[in-house]
């Protein structure tokens, strides 16, 4: 208790009030530097297998020989189905499965998003493990088209071949489901939703045959045409929807089998040339963070991860000397490892940043950087809360060396009002003003913050439901409107002489408090998104409402408050979330409409939350900051 009393006494110290901006800046700098040192050898670790049961690469693989002829035959079958109606395609693929003595079923699905229809049909077959009791299953997926829209000829053929090959083994102690999804995003989502009975029955068929709890899923993306193509490396894709990641053990098993047993190099995050330098590691990590932050589906595996089914996609890249049989053997070995699992993946990390196929940092090491960014907003919010409880009237600095002009008589009376404080034997004269605590008027700030968040529901609704043809106009209109809205709102409020200095401080205080709170909660769910938003919102910590000049000695900022406020308002437009998104799409050369359509599809199909965070966390914070600054333009 004594300690708290001392700390309470400390808050009267005027030096404390000067500290928070520096403390916030320190938090931001340390947070960013923290992230930048992660790729160094001292801060990252080599990956390792935690789950001993997996035993990756400990088995002989027998996929080869005559299987190669079967694969080639299936590949031509698949090529023959290109361009055929979906029904016929499904029927033919089902027949191939049936000829291997597997149970087959199909599933139709249809989604609507941004006035686009996404529909298709999934075909899947269940291999009942000879030693299994139908309580557990693992999934092998090949989507008919991959994420780039190419037809996955060899991937589908390889799944058909492996289904035939696996059926002859007697050692499976889990059921194996072979899923040929209609496409790479909606198809697997419809299937996994229906598998867990959480699909909307109007648009998606239920599954007629099922197996046990899914333990893992591996997707193949091998779009080589009917005459084959030898690849150089495997590109392992692991991002799930909303930034959730599969257990690191699954990733490690795939990498260690591919590179250790089969001699196929592994890459990630499209870093096809990785020279293990600091720069390459950092770039891999940042690409991973952006992909995680966007939270979009990055492959057929993404839909599985929200159901706590660990899943990855293996994608073939480059020109090299590995053929379909080495990929087949990799999958065989990988499925033998998954077959060994005694319990659901749980040993290794669920939160990690990868910077190379065999190097990672875990949550304990990287989380502080996002938390520091979030804490910086909270520190400023607390400082603003304390500042709002102080009187607006500035206290003349008695030790000031600059000579102020002779004060007018009535003012002199106000300034000389002193209070005598006695502590023990020491006596101090303190200006009464610096001791008074003013009542805080909370109504306007709280209403303002609540209304801002409600206002943000409007663009969220529009972008999720507008038809594709209107998205371009809607986006540009929103960009212009949101950019001028803070100035407009400040002008309207200034007609009613609101907000006062204290209310402006409180608006900023609450908005930063909420931002810090949302970001720290978000950092535990999706670290990357929290970090990225934290970086872009960081300037909001340092803007302030510029007060009216109250005395001739006021700072130069107060005297030029209108031009200064206008300049800061203009600068703030640059970090308007809408403008930032526009700039990002220009930088990466993406089409904004395509991005928005994907976001709307994500919302309706995958349950993507990124736009909710942008509109309900980031934008209101920016808007509140903009209004507080723009208030200075109107006196």
């Amino acid at each position: 208790m004594a300690l708290i009393s001392n700390l309470l006494a400390l808050r009267r110290d005027p030096r404390i009030l000067k500290l928070p901006p520096y403390l916030s800046a320190l938090c931001i700098i340390v947070g960013v530097v923290w992230l930048l040192v992660l790729p160094l050898n001292e801060y990252s670790r080599n990956t390792y297998i935690s789950e001993n049961a997996l035993l990756p690469g400990q088995v002989h693989t027998y996929f080869g020989g005559s299987e190669h002829n079967i694969f080639r035959a299936y590949r031509h079958e698949v090529a023959g189905l290109v361009g055929k109606p979906i029904e016929e395609r499904s029927q033919r693929l089902g027949e191939i499965f049936k000829s291997s003595n597997l149970k087959v079923a199909t599933q139709k699905y249809e989604y609507h998003a941004s006035s686009r229809n996404v529909s298709g049909q999934n075909v899947y077959a269940v291999l009942q493990g000879p030693r299994a009791d139908a309580t557990e299953a693992i999934v092998l997926i090949a989507a008919w088209t991959n994420m780039d829209g190419e037809i996955n000829h060899s991937g589908v053929a390889l799944v058909l071949t492996l289904a035939r090959y696996f059926k002859r083994w007697s050692l499976w102690s889990k059921d194996i489901i072979f899923l040929l999804a209609g496409d790479s995003t909606a198809g697997p989502q419809a299937w996994v939703d229906a598998y867990h009975d959480s699909h909307s029955p109007a648009a998606i068929d239920p599954l007629s045959i099922k197996s046990g709890a899914l333990q893992g899923a591996v997707a193949i993306d091998y779009p080589a045409g009917p005459w084959g193509h030898r690849f150089d490396k495997l590109h392992v894709v692991y991002d799930g929807v909303n930034g959730q990641l599969p257990n690191l053990d699954l990733f490690n098993t795939a990498v260690s089998i591919a590179s250790g047993q089969m001699g196929i190099g592994c890459t990630l995050q499209r870093m096809f040339q990785h020279d293990d330098s600091y720069q390459a590691r950092l770039q891999t990590m940042l690409r991973g963070m952006i992909s995680q932050g966007l939270g979009h589906a990055s492959g057929p595996h993404s839909s599985f991860i929200p159901y706590h089914v660990d899943a990855i996609t293996l994608q073939t890249v480059g020109d090299g000397w590995h053929d379909e049989m080495s990929l087949g053997r990799t999958l065989e070995s990988l499925f033998r490892s998954l077959n060994n699992l005694l319990e659901h993946f749980h040993q290794s990390f669920f939160f990690y940043l990868l910077m190379q196929a065999n190097r990672f940092v875990s949550i304990g090491t990287y989380l502080p950087s996002a938390m520091l960014l979030a804490v910086n907003f909270t520190i400023t919010a607390i400082a603003l809360w304390v500042a709002s409880g102080r009187s607006d009237v500035p206290v003349a600095n008695p030790a000031s060396t600059s000579r102020s002009p002779a004060p007018k008589s009535e003012k002199a009376a106000g300034e000389s009002e002193m209070t005598v404080l006695k502590t023990g034997s020491s006596i101090a004269l303190i200006p009464t003003i610096s001791l008074t605590i003013t009542e805080r008027h909370l109504f306007l700030p709280l209403t303002f913050i609540a209304l801002t968040h409600f206002l943000a529901l409007l663009p969220l609704y529009i972008f999720n439901n507008a038809p594709e043809s209107l998205l371009d106009i809607a986006f540009n209109t929103t960009a212009v409107l949101t950019s001028i809205l803070p100035t407009l709102a400040a002008y309207v409020l200034s007609i009613y002489h609101r907000p006062t200095q204290q209310e402006a401080t409180l608006i900023q205080c609450f908005s930063l408090l909420l931002l810090g709170m949302f970001l720290s909660a978000l950092a535990t769910l999706n670290f990357s998104l929290s970090f990225l938003i934290g970086i872009f919102a960081a300037p909001l910590t340092f803007i302030r409402h510029i007060p009216l000049p109250t005395s001739p000695t006021s700072s130069i900022l107060s005297k030029n408050r209108k031009p200064v406020s206008a300049v800061i308002s203009l600068l703030l437009v640059a970090i308007n979330p809408v403008i930032v998104i526009r700039a990002a799409t220009l930088y990466w050369g993406k089409d904004i409409v395509e991005v928005l359509v994907q976001a709307a599809e994500g919302w309706h199909i995958f349950g993507l939350w990124t736009q909710v965070v942008v509109w309900l966390v980031w934008w209101p914070a920016w808007f509140a900051g903009g209004v507080v600054v723009a208030r200075g333009m109107f006196s």
Partner: protein
């Protein structure tokens, strides 16, 4: 007249918000009903539906081992149409419960018993919010709205506790006794509010009546009345269900904590970790701790009995075996009555930030634990600890403020000086 219009407007707006949420988001009630933060094993609406189903099919509702709520709720809810198909009647019922609660809260505010009672008048007695503002802070509190949408039976307990407080602060003995017996019948722990509220009721009677009643006779008659009302309620329940087994299934569960479903309280984690041989001992310790606040606070702050009752609701929100945000919302809606103590409180920002942070981090960590599978029980328990810390800071801080307030009256020369708790 103006007040009545404003009140009608406030109640209309609050009812509109609730009914709008019920109808505009039809999946919201079921979503919130499933949240462990709102529904506990002893208050859950889902379990109530299970009980009603068994009851209407002539099976003892306590046979399944799922239903732990009072038997008299069953005929009430079996009269309503099945909420799975026709939820409107239930929605209206819970909206009315909230409005009646707000009405009782406003009655408490109008008596002004928190700022000046028979034995004590605060020097800051002019510093208070209007009853309308207090009613609004209850009706538009997001926690209250979430509770109303999730429809746990603790909403009914809250209503009866508020009515009991209102009637006690008006000195209406019979309705006070009846309301408190209903609250205790539904949730058991409100019976601990009896001593301070009795004191409050007695104070009001003394100020109103010409000849003050004999305190012993007054106490005896009220204790007798409460016992009579409770026995009547329990006997009706026994008649209704045909046996006394409901006692073990309702109050037994609250006392002995067999169901360790996570909630926002402090008990469940502790008792999952405990060796069975220590279980009885720690059950005794935990209950003794929760109950020991009643005599202590009532004796020390006997001049401000309503403040004691308010603080006790806060203590129940932290220390009872199955707390939910419904209990916290009762306390948080009573705190605005203590407006005169706010200038003396020192950690309001800290406490409200803690509560704000935990109300977002709690669901996030629960999601990580249960759905994503990437966290574990410690994540959620850590947040419930912080949540309880936030509430206990408010309780402790308001207690400090109340004592300081009394000190300012008793020792005027110490006003404005720093004090130290020893």
């Amino acid at each position: 007249m103006a007040i009545d219009q404003q009140k009608a407007l406030l109640f209309g707006a609050a009812a509109a918000v609730r009914l709008l949420l019920f109808t505009a988001f039809p999946s919201l009630p079921n979503l919130l009903t499933g949240r462990v933060e709102i529904s506990t094993p002893v208050t859950s609406f889902k379990r109530l539906q299970e009980g009603v189903f068994l009851y209407t099919h002539n099976v003892s509702p306590y046979d399944g081992g799922l239903y732990h709520q009072a038997p008299l709720l069953l005929p009430l809810f079996s009269l309503l149409p099945n909420p799975a198909y026709h939820p409107f009647a239930t929605n209206v019922l819970y909206t009315i419960v909230d409005l009646l609660g707000a009405n009782a809260l406003m009655q408490i505010a109008e008596t002004g018993q928190t700022v000046s009672s028979r034995l004590f008048t605060s020097p800051r007695k002019d510093l208070r919010w209007s009853s309308l503002a207090i009613g609004a802070s209850f009706l538009f509190n997001p926690f209250t709205i979430a509770t109303c949408i999730a429809r746990p039976t603790s909403a009914l307990t809250n209503l009866f506790v508020l009515i009991a407080m209102a009637k006690a602060s008006q000195g209406a003995s019979i309705t006070f006794i009846l309301a408190l017996s209903f609250a205790s019948y539904l949730s058991m722990h409100p019976i601990l509010l009896f001593p301070p509220l009795l004191l409050l009721c007695y104070n009001m009677r003394v100020t109103k009546a010409r000849t003050p009643p004999n305190p012993w006779a007054y106490t005896l008659s009220h204790v007798g009345g409460l016992a009579l009302a409770l026995v009547a309620l329990l006997y009706t329940s026994a008649l209704l269900t045909g046996s006394w087994e409901f006692l073990a299934a309702t109050y037994g569960v609250r006392l002995l904590l067999p169901d360790l479903t996570p909630n926002v309280g402090l008990w469940w984690y502790f008792f999952t970790e405990m060796f069975d041989s220590f279980r009885e001992f720690f059950l005794g310790v935990f209950w003794l701790h929760a109950a020991s606040y009643v005599p202590g606070l009532t004796i020390r702050l006997r001049k401000q009995p309503l403040f004691v009752a308010i603080t006790l609701t806060g203590i129940f929100a932290v220390f009872q075996p199955y707390p939910s945000i419904a209990d916290a919302t009762l306390y948080l809606s009573l705190v605005p009555l203590l407006r005169h103590l706010f200038p003396l409180m020192r950690y309001t920002f800290l406490a409200s930030s803690a509560i704000l942070y935990t109300s977002f981090l709690g669901p996030a960590f629960y999601y990580l634990w249960i759905y994503a599978g990437s966290g574990n029980a410690n994540f959620f328990y850590a947040i419930t600890l912080v949540w309880s810390l936030g509430l206990s800071i408010i309780i402790g801080d308001s207690l400090f403020a109340a004592l300081r307030d009394e000190l300012d009256v008793e020792r005027p020369e110490l006003r404005g000086k720093e004090v130290r708790r020893i």
